[in-house]
Each structure stands twice: as structure tokens, then as C-alpha cells.
Symmetry: D4
Subunit: 256 residues, 8 copies
């Protein structure tokens, strides 16, 4: 921004810009300058690229309204998370939109081609963890990542995990999704040498306390390289994994 | 009991037992009959065989007194648990007694020869879990079991565990000792086909909550065959494992 | 396996096996060798013997599909746990299958004859704990164990427990099922001299915290020989008890 | 109160009371009327009878000062709770005072003769619970009750409890003191037909959570007639038990 | 029993009773003797007097069956707790039975005349606590106690409590029922000089944690004389209060 | 801000400001503009008026350094909170400074004269709560408030609270400091009609959980007008109370 | 009141009031005098001004009855909180009453004109927090306050908060409403210099524990000047804020 | 592996390898094949590059022994974490080793030159969080990363954070270290567009529960891109951040 302001100031000094015009130009600058606009640009995933709507607690009408507004601005790639099948049915009446049932996510436009450094491996302990894993998988796909799914490889059938050791060893980042005791994150953390995002799920009963046990277990992982997101937060894991998988790319996910 | 009472009654009829004596004998019969004596015999590990003293919160003087009383009754094999090195030094002044430093256990007499069905494998996640594992190991040894130690085989160095797969596969019962996230119990439970006694330890920091996380994790193990004892309860694990390893022997540990 | 590999190698040396055949034979060996196949064989209870399906969260269609596949492979004895009466009705339309209503378990084939060391005693504190106890009882029966039921013998009617003291004294392993304060496990642990598997139940209200109080209580039992499984985990308790009751039998439950 | 006010008003009318005095008198009337004085009289245990000082967090000097002040007012029977041996030594220098070491209580004057309806039985699960039990015992003795001690009768040695069944059956009120899983309260509640005051203690380790497990267990007792006080609150239990044991006596403990 | 046994023994000595008859007579004695029968007699509230059925989790059919069996044995006074209005309607079809709607209790027979030492005061913090208070009130009435109700006298309208100070001062035992922060128990404990049974209720929201906050608050009451029962346990409070109110009566509630 | 920028631009146009200076000035403008300077001015309590140092975890040397720096800038009124007596002794060697022992606060300069709307009443449940209350009292005094202390007026001696009803009724804001069950806040909230700041203290034992019970209790107060600060946070309560007591004064505490 | 009593007394002295009349007048006075009536007057918001009914758990019939009674006494301004739309529909049949849908509050009469010192700013982290914020807003409006709404200004879109910095800087008191991690309260507390009332909401999932995380977070705010009310307690926050905003006004909210 | 086995088999056929050697080689092949050697190579950070020793719970002698062994193998770069100053003094007697006092880390050899993608920014809420931040900083430096420190930029002094917005905007990965309410992670997450690793610290008191509040707060961050490690786990955060900062480099940290 310095250069922009310098240019304006030079215009003022030279008389090519009058003071009123300069005041106006600079008045709009602060937020751009201190990064707010930049933040906004980054955070909302630039117009024409990708937008994310959190569907929980919004009515089909509200979501329709938001999509309409976005599409009017030219946005083609929109993702709606935590969207029930019922609401999707209402939304899908008048538009072209795809529903990812397990993930409870709807997307418009085409999924982007993978643009990240490498591959994101998503592993689950059991079959009940798959919806959370799929939320992560669809999120990361939507943000331009190649996904490898290793489902139902929990420690009670640990040989299935070892059958896929090559995938684990070659991942850029791994998302480990597990409920109950959440041991999968530690086992994968002990085998791999890339960042592992652990996602506790609310799968289990009794002393699983709706995911709390898996969460605590993952936070105490004796394997280095493991960090944790909230219970059932597949979206968050997919988002972080995408950020990591786009680390070197200076434009990161905004280019997705 | 019927026969005992019949004998008493016959004595009363014959005049060889007076009524006051008979009243007393019969009043005490119910407890004898319903098995308390039997319980007592079983539970205290018959005189001349083995006695266990919980050392925590007892002074060296108190412990000395108990040992003296037991030895007077002919008891040779005595085990004192949770005994600090300081107290042991005071107790060891005037008697022959062995201190198992890591286990914080003292024993008198010779360790019995193993009498169980098979072997008890004791595994730990890390080196900090060894004191709890040793409490289990010395307890089980004292109760007549052969022990195999697999220490520091936690999931962050999971290949060390696989190096000892033969031991795990051939165990009669396994004690899995681990702090932090306690994933070791699940991994061993997923590999073995014998009962696994999981012992959470207070090893860890932060959200390990002094063993609570490992405890909850172990209770939620997705591997079948795992049951759990209290945090740091190496003695309890060794005791249960010994009971299991003596299952077929009708006299069980009382013969140890 | 060493012998198998040795035979192959001898064949290679002798020229009776060509190298391509040997590579193929050995390539399949590793998992067998290091125990994974052995694990799999043990864990899934060998084909033709017994299979267990966790019914929770699976649709009737999915369960039907799994049963069909198993039966095609010749599996006669299949157990489905946590199965609602509704789903059972759908499954039972086209096949011969038995529903154990209290236990919420369905089984195909005939229950095996008991093959364990002794008897498994299953006790409950109250009548509300019976469903969890039945899950344990049917599981253990299905795995080849003789069961003795002592229901509604909680400490508020402790004389009923004493009426059955002989059963308690003669058990090979006892499963103590109780909600509320879970004192039953301690009382039974104080009377018996065999392993006690404690199962906390979610029976209770207020500060029972859906089984948490019973769970904590059981973990802190002052009676030795008690280990604990997850809240309401009747299946787990029946499974562990069966493992213990088959301790001496080298083939264990796989022969059931 | 009406009469008092009428008297004041008549004084005003007669001129024998001036208005300022009357305003003050009437302003203070409500409190007098609604019984605070009466409360005060009851609560503080009438002068000349008994006074209780909570010693925790008070210095020896402070306690000495309070005792001096009380004794000046003619108070002979003073009890100081939660008093360390060190502080007692300082206090005992210049006065006649008795230290109840296990209870950590000091008392002046003679213990009153029992004045209650019957006997208070105080039972403990183990030897480590004795200090809390003694706090209850000395408190109740000081308040005029006959005490029967049943120590170390926990469920791991349940036959010792049955040996004392007569005491339990004949108690007016029972205080059950136990740590770990606190099952003693339920067992005693299941055997007796009088009020049981349960006192959880902080005895235990790991998942005993410094008395929380025993507390929750006791609150969920399946035996009717059990109510609970705070962890380690021997004083509170002794105080409640004394109130119950003096129920019929209209003057209750204030006469003690 | 001593005398009974003595008589039998004298018969045996005299020859008036043969040994077989004596064995049979004595064989049945033990439980009577050691108090189990006595317990049973006491606990179940002697036949012809009063019986209590816990209705939760029992079907109308089951309850009907139990009532029929009791009435056949001549039992007129039966109380069923935690009984929904629906189930009551089914039960009331074919018999004379009264429903106490707020208390969710049904009773048969006439309520007994009060037989206790004095009066039981039952106070609530708010109107939402009344169902729990009524469970206590009907229970205590059924067990032969005079009840005084002080409802909606919580600390946010503390003057209403002071209006009823006379009732509080003259109670034999007080039941304080409150949710939210449960301060009512402490305020009443600070005003009264009789035992206070505190009943936390699940009334509240947010950080009231369904009664946990009130429970903890009551356990920490700075007022002496307060003991606590489980959350929403009106029955337990009424039962304990009745025991206390019958303290001096040697036959206690069994005579009610 | 517009005017400032206009001035700068005019300077640029006129040549009185060079472009580099202008760039810098404008770059810094946003923060100035959006109020950070204003914030800073308000928050740090303007130089020459009052400064607060959090003493916990800072060495005497570090604190001395900070005081020196402040005093060099002309600051006379400095308050250091959570300061141990030892550290104070070191700090007091070379300067004039006052130690408020109970509050563990040191202050330099003279306490300001009260400048608030009315009076702040600070009440405690017991004597052990006084240190926290004093932290609040000294903080509020230092910020220019008149304080009335009502110590040891907890609900177990509730008449002492009523003796001071006039103070409670006339307060502008009340700070209620209590541990154990924290009922004081509700009682005061029920009596007063001004904002009540509740401060839970860690006073208590057992199920007081170091202030958690008092905290939860206060958050659930059934009396309106109560808000809560962290456990033992006397400083925070004094600070909030001072803000409230200076509400109308547009310059608020910054003028103190 | 002193003056009232004085007047009566003067009347008595003068003979203009006879003693019976004076007794009656004074008999009603005590509560007024000692503040109870004053409390009552203050608390219930004087007749003719404002009344608040807590709608939760009351039927439409009950609420209608209370409103009728109040209106008969001349009360025009009545507010019913926590009122479902269904119940409102029933209540609205026969009377003029306004429903504030988001706030779930109904009000009769006209909203009063703002009478406070300044403005109350109400900010929310997200759109899901709005119902709680509206409960606060309608409550405070009903009590005579001017409200500024800053909704959806949470830290994930922190620039939206900075856009409204002027509102924050000029508030008399701020209510910060947020779920999830509740960081909004700290950020606002760090920017403002007036009292901040933090309201945690139950918005979130997983480890948000229905508002517990936001609650704890707000209690630990590193910004001074923040106090906290119960989870989702918008009414409480609005009430406290109104008290603060009327601080200087000696009659406070009673004049609203 | 095929080729290896083929080679062995050819050796057997040719007679250049005897059968015993071949059995051993093939028996070990599975582990080699499935990657354990590869894992081992990656995980231990290749010899000659870097080794990490967890110092907690190891004696100075033990650590010295490990260092000696490593250095004999040619390892120059060794890092010892959680090392007290005392133990360091003992270790430093006979070798060249550097102590990073705040981080409580010792390192041998020279710190590597940064080899990552970009810069790691480490921010703390307060000064008390610095030790944890330094543990992260030294760890990451030791693993070849460039570090930018932004200390004491918590939300109570949020303008200091905005002064460093450029650093935040240009980071490759940010570590946010904060205790108390942990809001810093959310604020930074709301401003930045790279992965944020949140580290809760045990800084705080009362309801901070030794870091639990900050932990929960961070897990619920409303800002995307935030993942969390255990309380005070600076090492873990530095390790994960280094993995992320080396994402594109196929050899990753093993080359460091």
C-alpha cells in the first residue's frame, strides 16, 4: 500500500490529484492497508473461486437467499456444510447443486483440480466415523486437494492399517478420525512423519462421553506431530489440512 | 452344616454337651455355614503361604509389628506394598527382607515357583510407567506366576512392540501399563487373544489429568478382551492377572 | 512358519520348486508369519465356528447382507448385538434366527455346548440392570460357557445375595452388573476368590450421571480381584469372562 | 409484638416516651419479633454449655484469645476442631485442655454425660478413615452422645461387619465413614433401619478423586435412609447425628 | 432367638423333640437369628402396614401384578412412586387407588395418622421444585408423619421465608428442596436447630448442570446440621425425615 | 481523521511536509483513527493518575524496575497486586511504599479521595474470605471509591447480615465474597436493588473443589442483578465495582 | 419510612390517631421498615410501572391468570420471558400484547422511554447468539434503556467489530454475547473502558459442552472490567446492565 | 521386497546362502518390507542430523549416558527438553552444551540454518506464557526454522498485536501460546490465513483449571485453521510447526 499512497501523495504534490479526491482515496485505504481488506479477501476465498456457508441453524430459504446473492456476484463454487437431506431437497428444486450425502455437504460448480503439494490421507477407526471423515474429505476436495481414504483401519483390526502403510508414508498431511478411545491418531502418528490432524468423533457410548475421551486421548498422544480439532469437526480438519497442503504456494487456498 | 448341628444335638441329647455351649455353637453356626470362614480362608491366603500388607499410611513401627505377629504364626511369605525406601530401611534393620525398589515392595521369604497356567506378559508404553508395571510384576511373582516384561513398547515406537509379537501371542494374560493417551492397551488388545488387564498411569501432564485420560481411553478400547483397574494400581492388575493365570487350578492362588 | 519357509527353501535348493513359485508362496507368508493372519483367525472366531456383528448403527439391509455373505462361506453361528426388535423383525423374515429380547441380541445356529473351565456367575444389583446382564449372558453362552444368573441381589436386599453364596464361591469368574452406586461389585469381590468383571450400568438418576458414578465406584473397589469394563458394556464383560473361563484350553474360544 | 407496640404507643400518647425513642424502638422491633434472638440462643449452644471453634486457618494466638473470652463469660465446655498438634502444644501451655489426637480436636472441661435417645454407631471402611470417624466421634461425645465404634469393617472384610450386626441393629443413628468406593454406606443402609449419615473420605488414589467417587457413590446409595455430608466432614456428621439422637428432647443439644 | 433355640435344645435333651425335627427348626433359624429376617421384616415395612413399589421402569401390568400379590397377603397400604399419569390410569381401572398428581405417587388404603415425634417442614425455593417436594411430602405422610408445606420461599423472596419462621423454629426435621444455586438449604440451616435434609433439584438451566450445582452447594453448606440426598430424590428425603421423626419410638416406622 | 489527513495533504501540496513523512503519518493514521490511542489512554489510566502492576510471577527486581520507570515518567500512584510480604520487603528498602497485608497489595502515593457515585459495600461470608475481600477493597479505594466493609456475615450467622441491612440498602454496588456454597451472593441479591458482583473464593474443602462450587452456585443465583468474576479475583471485582460506581462520570476512573 | 412512623406517632401523641389505628398502621410497617417491603417494592418494580413473569414451566392459563390479576391492580407494563410462540398465541387471544419473537418475550403496555445514564451496547459473536442477545435487549428496553445492537461481530470477522469501535467506546455498559470459545468478551473488554457483562451461550458443538467452555473462557478473561452471568441468561444480563445504567439515579429502575 | 526375496532365493538355489541364513532373512523381511526400517529412519531424525531426549524424569547421569552414546555414533546435534537448571549444571561439567534457560532446553552442536518454506511466528498472550513459547521456539529453531517472536500481545493489549500485523500476515505457520481464556488463538486465527497451532498454557488461577479453560476455548475457536496441542506442550507445537514449514521439501525435517 505504501506505493499506492505514495502515488496519491505525489499526485497531490504535483497537483494532478486534488485534495478532495485524495482524502477519499486515503479514507478507504486504512482497512486495506492494515490488512483488513486483505484478510477479508483471503478469508472468504476470493469471489469467483469458492465460498463456504455453515448450514446448521439456517433455513432452506435463508440458504437459498445467500446462494442467490453469491451467484449474482459471479460466484460459481459454493459449499454448504452441515446441511440435512431435507433442506437440500428444498434447495435443489430450482438449481444445479450436488449433495454429498455422507458428508452432509452440498456444492455448486465443479470441484477444482488438486493444487496442493501432495496428498491428504484421511483415515477412520471404524465405519461409524465415516460421516465426519467425509466432511473433511469433501471440504478438502472443494479446496483443491487430492484425497486418499483409508476407512475402518482402527486398532482392533490393526493389520488393515499396515496393509496401507505406503499411503501413510507418502502423505503430505494425514487426518485421523476416530471415536471411542481415539488410539488411531497415536498409532498413525507413530508410523508417519508428516503433520497429523486428529479429529475425535462422538462415536461410542458410556464413558466415551460423546467424544470427550477421544479428544483427551488425542491431545495426550505420545506421538509427536499430532494436533487436534474439536469433536466431529471434519470441516475444520479438512480446512487445516488444505492450508498445510498449500503451504509453499504463496497464494495458498485462495487460488484453489 | 446339617451334620455339625446334628452332632451338637446328639451331644445335647446324650448329655455330653450342655445347653449353654450348644446355644453358643449354634448361634455362631450361620456365619460358619454361609461360608465366612471359607471366605476368610481363601481371601487371606492361607497361613504359611502368603500375606499382603498395604504399606501406605502405616508407620515403620506399625508394619514391623504386623510382620512380627505374622511370623510368630509361622508365616514366611509376606509382601508389603507401597513402601518407601526410608521406611524399608527402618524395617530392614532387624530382619531379613528384600526390597524391590522400582516396585516399592518388600518381601520376606523366597519367591514361590510359578504355579500358573502360563505366562503373564507385562508391557509398558514408556519408561516412566515402569514403577507401576513393577508393582504388578512383583505382586504376580509373589503369587506364583512367571512374568515376561516388555517395557517401553508404546505406540510412538510401535516397531519395538512388533519385535516382541511372539511374547504377546503366547501370553495367558497381558497387563498393559500406560499413561498419556493409553493407546497401548488397545493396540495390544487388537493383537492378542487373551484377557488384557489395562492399567492407566498418572504419567503425563496437562490434559492427561493425572491418569484420567488414560483411564477413560482404556475403558473405551475398541478391542474386545480389555478390562481396566484404577490409575497406578499395579498391585490390583498383578492380583487379577494371577487369579486368571490360576483359573483351572481349583485351589487357585491359595496354594501358591 | 519357520518350517513352512524352510520347506520352500529346501525345495528351491533342490530345484523342486522354481523361484517364481517360491516368491509367490513367501510373498503371502509375511502376515501369516508375523501373526496377523493368526490374529485374524483368532479374533474373528474361525470360520465355521462363530462370528459377531455389532448391530448398532447398521441398517437391517446391511446386517442381512453381512449374514448372507457369512453364511455363504459356511458360517453357521452368527451373533448380532445391540439389535432393536424392529430391525430383528425385518431380518427374521427370510431366515431362521433367534432373538434374545432382553439382551437385544440375535443368534443363528445352535448355542454351543459349554467348553470352559467352570461356570460364569452373572449378578445384578436390581431388575433394571438385567438387560446389560443378559447381553453378557447371551454373549458368554454363544462363546461356549455355562452361566448362572443371580439377578436382583443388590446391597439393599443383601440377604438375597447371601442365599446364593455357594454359587459365588464356586464360580470361575463373576460378572457383577450394577448401576446407581455400584456397590455390588465390591461386596461380591469381598466374598469371592475368582476374577470379578464389574459392569457399571446407566441405571439411576441425578448424581448417577448415567453410569459414571457406578464406574468410578467400581474402579475404586477396595476388594482385590475386580476389573472394570465400560458403562453398559455387557458384551465386553461376557467376552472377557469367556476368555478367562477358557484360559487353560490352548485353543481357547476359537474352538467354541 | 402487638402488645409491645401498643405499650410504646401508649407511652407516646402519655408522653412517657418521646418520639425519637419510639421510632428507634419500633424500627428495631421486627428483628426481635421475628426471632433472631431466639435463633441466636439456639444456635450458639447456650452460654455455660458448649462452644465450638473451627481451628483451621486460625493462629494459636487467635484461638487462645477466643478461649479466654469465652472462659471469662463462664463457658467451661469449649471444643476446637481441625487443630494441628503444633498449635495445640502452644495453646496447652497455660491452660488445662485435652487433645484428641486422631480427631485433631481439643476440648476443655469434662465431656458431658450422654443425654440422647440411644446410641450413635460410627463405622469405617478401613483404618485410614479413622481420623474422620474420630472427628465425628469426639464431636458427638462433646454434644452428649454415647458412641459405639466399629472401625475397619469395610466390604473387603465384610465378615467383620457381620460380627457386629447387633450393634448395627440397635443403633439410633449410624455414621458410615468410607473412602475409595464408599460401598460401606450402602451395605450398612441395607442392613439397618435407622438414619445413616454417610461421610465420604479423601482416602484412596487415582480415580477416587480425593473423595469425589465415594461422595457420588453414597449419594446414589440404593439403600433408603442414607443422607450424605461433605468429604472428610466428620464434624458435620457428628453434629447431625447428635441432632437426630436428641430429636425427642424438646431442648435438644442446647441442654447437653 | 436364643430362647427359641434354648427351648428346642431343652426339647431335644428331654426327648420331647426328635433330632430330625430339631435340625429342621434350627436350619431355618440362622437368617432369623443373625438378623436377616429381622432386616427383611423391618425393611419391607411389616405386612399389614405399608409397602413401597418403585414404579419407574415397571409396566402397568407388572405393577398390577405386584399389587395383587401384596393385597392377597393382606397388605392394605401400598405406595407406588415415580408413576406416570398414564400408567396410573391403567392401574386404576379395576381397583380403588388414589393418585397424588404433583408427587407422581399412587397409594392404596388410608393414609395413617401421624405417629412421629413432631412435624416435618418441607420448604421449596421456587414453584418448579414442588413436584420433588410433594414426592417427599406424600412419602412422609404415607409413613405416618405430619407435614407443613412452605413452598416458594427461596432467597430471591427471602421475606416470605421469614414470615414462616415459627414453622421453621418448631420443626422436628426440615426438608429443604431447591434447584439453581440451592442456597435455601443454607439459609434454613442457619435459622433452624433441627436436622435439615437438603434435596437438590434439576430445576435450572446452563451452569446448573441438571442439579449438580445445587447438590455441590448443599454439600458445602456453611450451616451445621445439613445432610444431602441425591438430585430430585424427594422419596429418599421423605424416608430419612420419617426415620428421624420416629427416632424415639423403638418400633419406628414399622408401626406406622 | 479526515481533517488530519486533509492537513497532511495540504502540507504535501504546499511542500511543508515531504512525502516520506506523509507516508509514515498516514500509515499510522488508521490505528490512531480507530481509537487505539484513545483506548490506550483510557485503559492504562492516564499518566500522573494511577498504574496497576500484576505482581504474581514477577521478581522484586523486575517490579522495582517497572516502578522506577513509571516514577520517572511522573507517575505517583502505583498499585502492585498479588505481592508477597517477602517481595514487598525487598521493594520497600529504597522507596516510600505502603503494604496492605491482608490484600497482598502495595501502593505508592496517597489514596485518592472517593470520586464515585456512592458507596461500594464489600461483604464476606466468613473470616477466611477476608484476604480476597481486601484485595477488592484496596483496589476500589485506589481507584477512588468509598468502601463499607461487612465481614463475616455469611448465612450461618444470617442475623449479623440483617444487622447491617441499612448499609446493604444504601449501596451503589455490592461485592459479595464467599467460599463454600456461596449462598451469600444470593441472599444479598435477594435483599438489595443494586448490581451485586459475586466473588467465589477457594475457601472450603472436599466438594468445594477450590471455589468451583461457590462459582457455580453464584452463576445460578436465583436473585436478579448478580454477575460473577473468577475464583479469588478480588481485584477484578474491585475494578468492575469502581467502573459501575463511576458510571455517570463521563471521564470515569481515568480521572480518579 | 422513619417519617411515616414519626407522623403516626405524632398523631398518637396529638390524639388525632387512636392507638388501634396506629397499631394496625405500624403492624404493616415492619417489613416496609426493615426493608422487606422496600425490597418488595423495588424488586417487583412498583405497581403501575413494570412486572416480570418467568414464563418457563407455566401454562398459558397460569400466565393469563397472573396477567389478569396484575392488570386488575392497575399494572400496565408486564413482561413475560421464556415464552414459546404457541403459548403466546393462546395468551394473545383476548388481550393486547406484543410478542418479541427472537427474544421469546411478550410485553403489555408501551415500552418506556429510556431513562438511563447512557446507552447499552449489545454485541454477539455470531448470528446464532442473537436470541440470547434479544432477550437481553428487550429486557433492558422494557426497563428503560437505550440499546445499540452490534450483532455478528465475532473474532472470526474481527474487522466488523472494529467498524463499530465508536459505539463500543461510547457505551455506558456493554453486553457481550457469545458461544463457542467466547473470545468476544475478552476482545471487547480489551477495547472498552466500561463494565462488560459477558453472556456465554450454548451455541457450539463437541467440546463447547453446551456453553460451559464459553462460560469458563469469559470468567478467565484477561481483560479487566468483565463479569459473567449464567449460560444463555440474556434476561439476567439485561437486568444487570439496566441497574448499572441507572446507577446515579437514586430511584433507579423503579422509576423506569 | 520381491526383488530382495528373489535374490535370497537365487542365493539358496546357487548355494551361496545356506537355509538357516535365508530363514532368518525372510523372517525379518515383513517388518523391513512394511516399512518399519523406513519409519525408524524417518522418525529418529537420521544419525548425524538431530536427536531429541525428553529430560523429564531422567537423572543427569542417565542423560549423560544417552548423550555419550549418541556422540559416539557421531551425532552432533542433540536437544534435551524439560531439563532443569540443576541437572543442566551437572551435565555441562564435562562437555560443550548450551542451555536455553526460558525454554528449559539444552542443545549440543550448532543450530542449523533455517531450511523451511517460510517463517514461524510464535505469539504469546502474556509474559507468563513465554517459557512455553520458548520451548516451541528453541525446538523449531533446532529443527531448522526461522522464528519471529511476538510476545505479550494478548487481547487485553490488543493494539500491540495490531502493530505486528505484517508479521502475522506473512507467516507460514503461527504458534499461538496463551493461558487464561486463550482468546489469542481465535483473534490470530481471525486475522491470518495460514495454519495456527494453539498451545494452551497452565497460566491463570481459579476457573482456569490449570490450562483446561484455555484448551477448551482453543478447541472451540470460531476461526478456521486452528488446531490444538496439549497444555504447555511447546515442544509439540514447535515440532508440528516445523513439519508444516517443511511440507514441500520431500525429505522434510530429516534433512534439517
Amino acid at each position: 500500500m505504501k506505493d499506492d499512497i505514495r502515488t496519491i501523495l505525489e499526485g497531490v504534490r504535483d497537483g494532478s490529484i486534488n485534495i478532495e479526491e485524495a482524502v477519499l482515496a486515503i479514507k478507504e485505504a486504512p482497512f486495506t492497508d492494515i490488512g483488513f481488506a486483505k484478510i477479508d479477501t483471503h478469508r472468504s476465498i476470493r469471489q469467483g473461486v469458492a465460498e463456504i456457508i455453515y448450514g446448521e441453524g439456517k433455513s432452506a430459504e435463508q440458504i437459498n437467499g445467500i446462494i442467490d446473492a453469491m451467484q449474482k456476484k459471479g460466484q460459481e463454487n459454493i459449499m454448504i456444510t452441515r446441511l440435512s437431506e431435507d433442506k437440500f431437497a428444498q434447495i435443489a428444486k430450482d438449481r444445479t447443486i450436488t449433495y454429498h450425502k455422507d458428508a452432509r455437504i452440498a456444492t455448486t460448480g465443479e470441484m477444482p483440480r488438486p493444487s496442493g503439494t501432495g496428498k491428504i490421507v484421511i483415515a477412520t477407526g471404524g465405519t461409524s466415523d465415516i460421516p465426519v471423515a467425509e466432511e473433511a474429505a469433501v471440504t478438502a476436495s472443494f479446496l483443491g486437494n487430492e484425497i486418499i481414504r483409508l476407512y475402518d483401519v482402527g486398532v482392533s483390526g490393526i493389520h488393515r492399517l499396515f496393509d496401507r502403510l505406503d499411503d501413510i508414508m507418502s502423505a503430505t498431511v494425514i487426518i485421523a478420525v476416530a471415536g471411542m478411545e481415539g488410539a488411531l491418531a497415536s498409532v498413525i502418528g507413530g508410523l508417519s512423519d508428516c503433520p497429523v490432524i486428529a479429529v475425535p468423533t462422538s462415536v461410542g457410548y458410556g464413558a466415551s462421553f460423546e467424544g470427550m475421551t477421544a479428544l483427551l486421548s488425542m491431545l495426550n498422544s505420545c506421538a509427536s506431530g499430532v494436533s487436534v480439532v474439536n469433536i466431529d469437526n471434519g470441516f475444520g480438519a479438512g480446512y487445516v489440512a488444505s492450508l498445510i497442503n498449500h503451504t509453499k504456494d504463496p497464494e495458498r487456498i485462495t487460488k484453489a
